[in-house]
């Protein structure tokens, strides 16, 4: 169990070293990432410029969802964010090389695209979170602190599972980059807002099929001590880690199935 982590650290270390080879580009990338996600947050503020509440949610509460989703998204992108470059590997056949090495392909893909610049978005999310927590009167207790701590790793795993399933499509479409983006960036967008503002079918979709509601919405209800506007079972608010585990299973199975349909490229 420890050994793969050590190998992962070496793979990632190698990439950080190569990113530092282009220092100016690295600094600009990171700054760009920070600014883009800041503009993203402005969109939330613009929305609230025209209304004071979104359903039962105040601007600060939505900002809390936004911050948690951003941090989780950025960390997922940092830790397992291979999905930008992955369809290219399928298309040009360089995925072959991963298959002749004695490691799981998913592990190698995860270790093959570690971009430090993605920290930019996480930093921005953390700043928003700091502000929100200091200005919201959250009734902190052991349970809430624990939830806050468990929430981020669960969210990372849920995001990662959803992305993995989305990426599997590249094995068939060969160039499914844009479709996969619907799962990644689209998923981040959906997780930022309280699901009770969406229509019923989308809500069900997010709660039971692509479980993005477990990234922020359900745990946030508990932390912010809000009654669920949808009246769903309270148990769901504590289910994120379980959903994450389930996601790992589904993602892993989908991946295995997809790799067997890999067609490689000529030459």
């Amino acid at each position: 169990m420890v050994e793969p982590v050590l190998v992962w650290r070496r793979l990632v270390g190698a990439q950080i070293r190569s990113q530092f080879q282009y220092r100016v580009s690295f600094v600009l990338d990171m700054l760009g990432n920070f600014l883009i996600s800041f503009i993203d947050f402005l969109a939330v503020l613009v929305l609230f410029h025209n209304t004071t509440r979104l359903g039962v949610w105040s601007v600060r509460e939505v900002a809390f969802l936004y911050a948690m989703s951003s941090i989780s998204f950025a960390l997922t992108d940092l830790l397992v964010g291979h999905f930008d470059q992955f369809p290219q590997k399928i298309r040009d056949g360089t995925f072959d090389i991963l298959l002749v090495r004695p490691r799981s392909t998913l592990f190698q893909v995860i270790g093959s695209d570690f971009q430090m610049r993605r920290l930019g978005k996480a930093i921005q999310g953390a700043l928003v979170l700091g502000y929100v927590i200091s200005s919201l009167a959250i009734p902190w207790d052991v349970g809430r602190v624990a939830m806050l701590v468990v929430m981020v790793p669960s969210a990372i795993v849920i995001f990662a599972s959803v992305w993995t399933v989305g990426s599997c499509l590249a094995f068939w479409t060969t160039d499914g980059g844009e479709f996969t983006n619907a799962f990644t960036y689209g998923g981040n967008f959906l997780a930022q807002y309280p699901i009770d503002i969406f229509s019923t079918w989308l809500r069900r979709f997010l709660a039971y099929i692509v479980p993005l509601a477990f990234v922020c919405y359900f745990p946030a209800l508990y932390i912010l001590d809000k009654p669920d506007p949808l009246g769903l079972p309270r148990l769901l608010q504590f289910s994120s880690p379980l959903v994450a585990l389930l996601g790992v299973g589904v993602g892993g199975l989908a991946w295995r199935f997809a790799v067997r349909h890999y067609r490689s490229a000529g030459g």
Binding site: A14, R17, Q21, I97, R101, P102, R260, Y262, S264, G266
Partner: protein
């Protein structure tokens, strides 16, 4: 080492712009062969004949559509990870080294990916540094290496974990004569000294002649030759070309046992069969000879001849 029985791979290709029609293409069609431990074997065929597809099924990259494969006693697509520890692979066109890092860093990473013990790694690396002359560019980022240097790096990378079996897909493609020779010397060394079984695909008959005793030829997904290189040439490559440079231009020579194919000033091309010595003597007696060379047929030519000879 390798057992292949009625191995097939079909691809479904969709054609047409609007009304797409499904077409099943047989990339590899029921081929069978065996490779013993310690062989150095050439796998030849024109572009698109199914060479790479076969290698990909042997290494566990592609799942076969039919038939049976066993490599080092394992089913490649089912026990890919176990097999990967025991085989090395180099695909001429696919870079396995880390592009932005110094060559030595890639070796270090591979050492950990393959879990090679530190002392074994040091020994192997020292050996490869010497044989492949890596020292001058060991600390250069891969992106700055010349093709020849990179291929030497790739060869080292595919051998660091001391595999029993090495697959090489077009290892000498694009290399100059010196670099080609270095790669060939390396392959002979690992085959003889370490007993590594080597299967290489190539376009280059020169590779085959200098390296392999046995040869498989594939075309349109079917195996059309499995045997020794000398037998193949005897049967299909018997006709060679004698190129002679004469002292002065003369009309096409009338020599018994040879046909003049082409004349260009003092140079003439003669197609012939059998030993070259007698023929050369006959040419020398009928014209003043300055220089001569003998050209062997290339793979495309041999494949064409295999088809054109009836009864095979």
């Amino acid at each position: 080492m390798i057992e292949v029985e009625r191995l097939s791979k079909q691809f479904v290709v969709r054609r047409g712009r609007f009304r797409r029609e499904r077409v099943v293409v047989d990339a590899v069609n029921e081929i069978s062969f065996r490779v013993e431990r310690g062989e150095l074997l050439g796998y030849l065929g024109p572009n698109g004949a199914g060479k790479s597809t076969t290698i990909k099924m042997l290494t566990g990259i592609l799942v076969p559509s039919g038939g049976r494969v066993s490599v080092a006693g394992l089913d490649p697509s089912k026990r890919r990870i176990e097999l990967a520890k025991r085989i090395g692979a180099m695909f001429g066109q696919r870079i396995q080294l880390w592009w932005d890092l110094p060559l030595i860093d890639s070796f270090e990473l591979l050492r950990h990916i393959y879990k090679v013990p530190a002392d074994r790694y040091r020994q192997s690396l020292a050996r490869f540094r010497e044989v492949l002359d890596l020292d001058s560019f060991l600390h250069t980022p891969v992106r700055q290496l010349s093709l020849g240097q990179r291929i030497r790096g790739e060869l080292t990378a595919s051998m660091l974990h001391e595999p029993e079996l090495l697959f090489l897909d077009e290892p000498t493609i694009g290399l100059d004569v010196v670099a080609k020779q270095r790669v060939r010397d390396f392959l002979i060394e690992i085959n003889r000294e370490r007993g590594v079984t080597v299967l290489l695909t190539t376009h280059d008959l020169g590779d085959i002649e200098r390296l392999c005793k046995r040869l498989l030829v594939i075309d349109h997904g079917s195996l059309i030759w499995d045997g020794g290189i000398d037998e193949l040439k005897e049967r299909y490559g018997a006709e060679r070309m004698l190129i002679v440079d004469l002292e002065q231009p003369v009309p096409p020579l009338q020599i018994e046992g040879a046909v003049v194919e082409k004349v260009d000033g003092p140079r003439q091309w003669l197609r012939f069969r059998g030993p070259a010595a007698d023929l050369t003597a006959r040419v020398a007696s009928s014209a003043r000879l300055v220089d001569l060379q003998i050209a062997e047929p290339d793979i495309e030519e041999i494949v064409r001849r295999i088809y054109s000879v009836p009864g095979t």
